[in-house]
């Protein structure tokens, strides 16, 4: 990850129940709107956040979303990190069985 990124603002959203999922979506939407994301980018971002938040909730026994406004020179954006203490995916599984995208 680029070390030169400066964090301007940081916000936490705990993910303990499905109401937190709504709050997480709202926060991401608000920040992305403030940063003037296009409607399509905003929709994709909120959708991705919703998937990750639900994953943390259902498979990680809850977790936390860290939402940061970051700048890198003239570029500004959002960094969203989802953390949970779930079991994870075994290292021994070949990638094809995991079906991970990234």
């Amino acid at each position: 990850m680029d070390q030169k990124m400066n964090v301007l603002k940081r916000d936490l959203q705990y993910l303990k129940n499905s109401n937190d999922l709504l709050l997480a979506r709202q926060k991401v939407r608000l920040r992305a709107t403030e940063l003037r994301f296009s409607l399509v980018d905003l929709t994709k971002l909120v959708t991705a956040a919703s998937e990750l938040a639900r994953n943390a909730l259902e498979h990680g026994n809850g977790g936390v979303m860290v939402l940061e406004n970051v700048v890198n020179g003239a570029r500004s954006g959002l960094r969203i990190v989802f953390e949970d203490q779930g079991p994870g995916i075994p290292e021994s599984l070949p990638p094809s069985e995991v079906g991970m995208v990234q």
């Binding site: 999922l21 709504l22 979506r25 709202q26 399509v40 929709t43």
Partner: protein
Amino acid sequence: MERIPVLRMGPLLLITIQVDMHDQMALRLQDDVTQCIAELGSTGVLIDISSLEIVDSFIGRMLANIAAMSRVLGAETVVVGMQPAVAITLVELGMSLPGVRTALSVEAGMELLIGAAYGATYGSEDERPQA
């Protein structure tokens, strides 16, 4: 708990999702719709999602479930009013709502459902073999 209203319009059920649903609301909607079809003998279900700002895999699965459950109970489902940005996101996610009929507007969806009901009753073009 909040619930999404299911309105009866003759042989059809009309559902407008206007709030950001939490998961229990979505699950409850599946129950309500199937219950209504069973009680009222509805032949069509119209779901308006024009107010939905996102459709993630959970909501997509709910829509597919409602369509599949309704079909088993003898009712057709049409999802209408999807926002273009939602359509782009869904397709790029690899979720194009298989098994769910869609239409651009409520009017277009109504026509589909009324046409399907008419076809089922009087045997029109719906009975022709599919090309």
